[in-house]
C-alpha cells in the first residue's frame, strides 16, 4: 500500500471520529486504537467473568429461596456480560483462546475490586449497590464509545446492571430494617468495600497517561476523577436513605497498584479457580465437539 493511500485511510478514520460516528470492525483503524480497545475490552470481559466468583461464593448459602434465585440470575448475567464483551473483542482480530490464555497468565488484567473476599451475605448487597453502581457510572458513558461493537455490548449490559444495583440496595435495606447485628453487618461491609469501589475508576488523572489519547479517540468520554466524583455525589443520598455512614474518600494508591500487580488478598485464588473451571469443563466441550462431528 502506498503512503498516500495510508494517509487517506487515516484521514477517513479521523473524520469519522470527529463527526462522532462509530468505527465498525472492518474499517481501517490505527494500530494504537485497536490495541487500546483490545486491552480495555478484554479487561472488562475478564472482570465480568472473574466477578462471578465473589458472589458465586454465596449461592449455596443464600438465606432464602428468593435471594438464591436473584443471586443465581445475577451471576448468570455476569457470565452473559463477559460473553458479549469477548465477542466485541474478537471483532478486533483476537481469538477467544488468546483472551483466555492472557487472563490465566496475568498478561491481561481484570478489575482490582474482585480480588477482595466476600466475608458475609451483606457483601452480596454491598457489591450490588456500590460495585455495580460504580460499574454503571463507568459504563453508561461507554454506550457512546467510538467503537460500534463495544458500545452495543455496553448498551445491553447497562440495561441489565440496573437490576444488579437495585437488588443489592434492596438487600441492604432489608437488613437495615432487621436486628442491630444485621445493621452492624451492613456497616462493616460498606466500610470494607467503599474505598475499593472508588478505586474501580482507575488511578488519579495525573497518573493515567493513556486517558487523553483514549478521549481523543472517543473511546473514553470522561476522566477517571470525573467519574469518581460523580459516583461519590450519587452515593451520598443513597447511603443516607439506607442509614449507613460512608468512610472517607482518601484512597491508598499503593494498595491499588499492589493488587493490580497480583498482591491482593484473592488474586491467586481467583485465577486458579478460573483455570480449574475451564479445565473441569474440558470434557463437556470435547463431548459437544464429538457430537457435532458425528454423522446424524
Amino acid at each position: 500500500m502506498t503512503a498516500a493511500a495510508d494517509e487517506d485511510l487515516a484521514a477517513g478514520f479521523d473524520a469519522t471520529i470527529a463527526a462522532g460516528d462509530r468505527i465498525e470492525p472492518r474499517d481501517w483503524m490505527p494500530e494504537g486504537y485497536r490495541k487500546t480497545l483490545v486491552r480495555q475490552i478484554a479487561q472488562h470481559a475478564h472482570s465480568e467473568i472473574i466477578g462471578m466468583q465473589p458472589e458465586g461464593n454465596w449461592i449455596t448459602r443464600a438465606p432464602s429461596l428468593r435471594r438464591k434465585a436473584i443471586l443465581l440470575a445475577k451471576v448468570q448475567d455476569e457470565a452473559g456480560h463477559g460473553l458479549y464483551l469477548y465477542s466485541a473483542c474478537e471483532t478486533l482480530g483476537v481469538s477467544r483462546r488468546d483472551l483466555m490464555e492472557q487472563l490465566i497468565s496475568g498478561a491481561q488484567k481484570y478489575s482490582s475490586i474482585f480480588n477482595y473476599p466476600t466475608l458475609s451475605y451483606a457483601d452480596v448487597g454491598t457489591i450490588g449497590w456500590l460495585v455495580d453502581g460504580a460499574a454503571i457510572c463507568n459504563q453508561v458513558p461507554l454506550c457512546r464509545t467510538s467503537y460500534g461493537p463495544y458500545g452495543r455490548a455496553m448498551i445491553r449490559i447497562c440495561k441489565e446492571e440496573s437490576f444488579h444495583q437495585r437488588q443489592g440496595y434492596e438487600l441492604l435495606a432489608t437488613m437495615m430494617r432487621g436486628t442491630d447485628e444485621q445493621r452492624a453487618m451492613v456497616q462493616e461491609s460498606v466500610d470494607r468495600f467503599w474505598k475499593p469501589a472508588l478505586m474501580m475508576f482507575g488511578p488519579p488523572d495525573a497518573d493515567s497517561p493513556n486517558t487523553q489519547q483514549s478521549m481523543d479517540w472517543g473511546i473514553k468520554r470522561h476522566t477517571n476523577d470525573e467519574l469518581r466524583a460523580r459516583f461519590i455525589e450519587m452515593s451520598a443520598p443513597q447511603a443516607a436513605a439506607l442509614g449507613v455512614t460512608l468512610p472517607g474518600n482518601d484512597l491508598d494508591w499503593d494498595e491499588f497498584w499492589r493488587i493490580v500487580k497480583g498482591g491482593g488478598p484473592c488474586n491467586a485464588q481467583r485465577i486458579a479457580h478460573r483455570k480449574k473451571a475451564h479445565d473441569d469443563g474440558a470434557w463437556v466441550r470435547e463431548a459437544a465437539t464429538a457430537y457435532a462431528r458425528s454423522p446424524r
Binding site: E24, R26, D27, W28, A73, Q76, D77, G80, L83, Y84, S87, A88, E90, S95, R96, R97, D98, M100, R152, A153, R156, E160, H278, A282, R285, E286, A288, T289, Y291, A292
Partner: protein, 95 residues
C-alpha cells in the same frame, strides 16, 4: 479442544411478531443446534425475543468498507427517487 476452535455464529433476534430479526451479537458453538441454545441463554434471558436465527459468520458475504463509495455512489445522485423531490400544490389532499 477449546471453544475458540468452534465456529463463530452471528445471532439475530425478532423481538416481537411484526418486526424484523435484528443482529444482536455473536457466539461460538460446535454446531447449529448448540448455537441456537447458547443464543437463547446469552441473548434472551429477559424475554427479548420470540424467534432466533443463527448463521455461521463465515457464510456471510458482506460489502467491503473500502468499496463503500463506489458501491453506494449510484444512489447518491438520484434525488428523484424520494417523494420530497416533487412539488405538489398545498390544496391537493391525500398525497
Amino acid at each position: 479442544m477449546t471453544n475458540s476452535d468452534w465456529p463463530l455464529y452471528e445471532v439475530f433476534v425478532r423481538s416481537k411478531r411484526g418486526l424484523n430479526h435484528v443482529h444482536v451479537g455473536s457466539l461460538h458453538a460446535p454446531d447449529d443446534a448448540m448455537a441456537l441454545r447458547h443464543a437463547r441463554d446469552v441473548y434472551t434471558r429477559r424475554s427479548e425475543g420470540v424467534s432466533i436465527w443463527v448463521v455461521r459468520s463465515d457464510t456471510i458475504t458482506a460489502s467491503s468498507p473500502g468499496e463503500k463509495d463506489p458501491l453506494f455512489a449510484p444512489s447518491g445522485d438520484k434525488v428523484y427517487r424520494h417523494p420530497t423531490f416533487y412539488d405538489i400544490p398545498d390544496n391537493v389532499p391525500h398525497m
